[in-house]
Amino acid sequence: MSTDPILDCPLDQVPEGPAFIAAAMRWHFSPETGSPYWLDRAKTLGFDPREDVRTFEDLRRFPNVANELREVRVEDLIPRGYGADADVIGVYESGGTTGPPKRVVLLRDWLERLMHRTQQSLQARGYPESGHWLSLGPTGPHLIGELIRRQAARRGGIPFTVDMDPRWVKRCIAEGRADEAERYAEHLIDQSAHILETQNVRVLATTPPLLTRLARRKALVDLINAKVAAISWGGAHMDPDTRYLLRTEVFPNVKLYGSYGSTMILGGLAERVTAPEEDLIVFDTFSPYITFSVVDPETGEVVRYGDRGQVVMHHISKSFLLPNNLERDLATRVAPPPGQMGDSVADVGPLATFENETVIEGVY
């Protein structure tokens, strides 16, 4: 069976949703082209995706198999249709917050498609055409570091990196060693400071907590305002008040854009460009490849526009299939731009908690 051209469509074209889904189902669930993992998994689905999955809504028929990716051999995730010489860029892992990490395989054709999309996003947001990047965030097994490194190189810059191991930070906090996490974070900022002081860094890519921490040092804030043209944040949530303060008070001369993604969808999406007075942080998707739904955590039904719910992520490409992955994030459901399957999401974040727990004893 040959590859349906719609799965290999030119990078600057957007395939039509249902036709793309149908082609992807044929690819991933035909014995000649599908991955060993999905071909085996299909036996217990109770439906035939090639017949029964034709629309975006039909994706909800899939179980959430994300947890199975903790144990699967990575070879079994590569669709057979690529043949023996699939161009593997690397294997990447989830953060590991909820147990052993989940693994995905990044193939070159998907990377090219994603990078093309990202370059368009950076262009539309006025990122500098040249100059170096500083990535202060996870590298190692985490996809985000790899993607930032390649984006920088593609725009002709040097990608400087300061590596953060998020699993160590989480472990420190889980073990009640807040002081150790604090010391580690300061160690990261120290390393970043040295790069910012000595190099012509034009783009800073980091996480919201590290950005907030950078803002504690006045000298670094001055340095960033003087040198850096754009800040990309991702990997964690940013609340709208922090974004407002960063834009208006801390880094008034620097473009500030978020991205929202996950290793499990093999990428991230840039924040929608909105008017400066607009307070909502909206993320549109990379339809039909990366798509979202916002659902009621209790019923699993899609919530109304403007309501909050839990984010479900789907990845469908020639290289990989992971539909119906329920993330722990909450978000506001936002109407998508024309032609996008599924939802856009806004104000992604966890629930606010004012008090740690309900304490009854005592008068305070």
Partner: protein, 456 residues
């Protein structure tokens, strides 16, 4: 309430209406106000601004505190008159309106006295200024241990906001994290302070999510934290933090003349609706405690159940679900004690979604019964037998101990024990707090130290 009251954060750059807000409801669940919650970035910038701010000269601080106290207690602040503020606090916290009224005037008075009150803590050998002629021969100068003071406030009684006024009086810049239970008092007080001469970068209100609360302490030079045992455990070893932990105030009754002290005992248990750390939660009786407990219970049971805004209200009111949670906690911890009052439950449902917490009186059979350490936010008291052979051990770990005794040797031991913070003798209620008597030592002892200055 037709329109929600807007409780902005009060940052170093002025009021801040945040996107993330917490709805404050009154006892029946009706929303009353929206409290702006600020993120970590806002906190760290506010704290940095406090560090960079200047301190007003002492006489300006005194004048501003006096003006602010008057405005707070009697004026219109942020469009809200004092009477309306008192009504809101009563309806949100469930505290009897008369208690809120006297707390309001108390805050006004204590603001005016704040600077003078700090004088009690100054060592006799110290002067305030290096220019003092005494320094020519060498002298101690009383100096601040830092510049920025943070408070994790409590919401049990508006009066908790009198103490940190002394820090302002001593020249500290102050950050207050309000309690979600009652943010109205610190908001009104800080607004009044700002209208009376303190700069926006000298006193700030930082309502935050729990996860950010520690940042306020970390970025301050010194901090005071209200809370229970967990707060003491968390900060007990941090020399920069002054925990305001459980009160566990007690009364010791020796001799046979308990009847003349009945009024004092009832008042110590029930003043302020029993919500303060200075309310007695245990009474130790030499001899048989049962007749005393029964007499106290009889008096307490006569207190009517009324909504908190009623002038006759004495008891605290809570949303009925919260009241039942407290009741369940109590009944789960009776653990063999003999109920004298409230053994079948303490909640009196007012029918509007709120419930009165009625007094509870229990008898335990030995002075070291663990129940005597249970402190709840309503009049709830444990009576235990005590004899001289039991010594002072059962009386330890106490904010205020009122002792009815003629035994000077016993009083010596009570006064010498470091875990008993205040000893009141005779018919003195535990809740008495004149400004010249330290509450849990003088705050000035924590905020200040002496520094040697010699001019030759």
């Amino acid at each position: 309430m037709d329109e929600l009251i807007r409780l902005d954060a009060l940052g170093a750059g002025g009021p801040y209406h945040s996107r993330s807000r917490q709805t404050i409801t009154e006892l029946t669940g009706t929303p009353v106000a929206e409290l702006s919650l600020v993120p970590r970035l806002f906190v760290q910038r506010s704290m940095a601004a406090l560090h960079e701010a200047r301190t007003l000269p002492a006489h300006d601080r005194v004048a501003a505190l006096t003006r602010a106290g008057r405005l707070f207690a009697t004026g219109v602040v942020d469009g809200i008159a004092a009477e309306k503020y008192q009504h809101i606090v009563s309806r949100v916290s469930g505290m009897p309106i008369t208690v809120v009224r006297s707390a309001t005037s108390g805050i006004g008075r204590r603001a005016a006295e704040a600077y003078r009150t700090t004088r009690y803590a100054r060592p006799e050998g110290a002067v305030d200024d290096w220019r003092d002629p005494l320094t020519r021969n060498g002298q101690a100068v009383w100096t601040r241990r830092g510049d920025v003071f943070a408070v994790h406030a409590a919401g049990n009684h508006p009066g908790v906001h009198t103490l940190w006024l002394e820090a302002l009086a001593l020249g500290y810049r102050v950050a207050v994290r309000p309690s979600r239970r009652e943010p109205f008092t610190p908001h009104r007080l800080i607004t009044a302070l700002r209208e009376s001469g303190f700069g926006d970068d000298q006193v700030v209100l930082l309502p935050t999510d729990y996860t950010v609360a520690d940042d306020i302490i970390r970025d301050a030079d010194l901090a005071m934290v209200y809370g229970g045992e967990e707060v003491v455990n968390k900060y007990g070893n941090d020399v920069r933090v002054l925990p305001q932990g459980p009160g566990r105030s007690k009364i010791l009754l020796t001799g046979h003349d308990w009847e003349t002290h009945l009024g004092m005992i009832v008042e110590s248990v029930s003043a302020f609706g029993g919500t303060a750390c200075v309310n007695a939660t245990a009474v130790f009786v030499e001899g048989d405690p049962a007749p005393v407990a029964e007499a106290v219970a009889e008096r307490l049971s006569a207190i009517p159940s009324l909504p908190p805004e009623d002038d006759g209200a004495v008891l605290p009111v809570q949303p009925v679900a919260d009241a039942h949670a407290i009741e369940k906690y109590l009944l789960d911890h009776v653990n063999g004690a003999t109920p004298v009052l409230g053994g079948d439950g303490v909640v009196d449902d007012l029918g509007d979604g709120s419930g009165v917490l009625r007094p509870a009186v229990f008898l335990v059979d030995r002075p070291d019964a663990p129940q005597t350490g249970i402190e709840l936010s309503f009049p709830c008291v444990w009576f235990a037998p005590w004899s001289r052979a039991d010594g002072i051990e059962p009386l330890r770990n106490t904010l205020v101990l009122t002792a009815i005794t003629q035994d000077a040797g016993l009083v010596d031991r009570l006064v010498e024990d470091p875990s008993i913070r205040n000893v009141y003798l005779g018919d003195t209620p535990t809740y008495l707090m004149p400004p010249w008597v330290p509450h849990d030592a003088y705050l000035g002892e924590f905020l200040m130290r002496t520094k040697g200055v010699i001019r030759t």
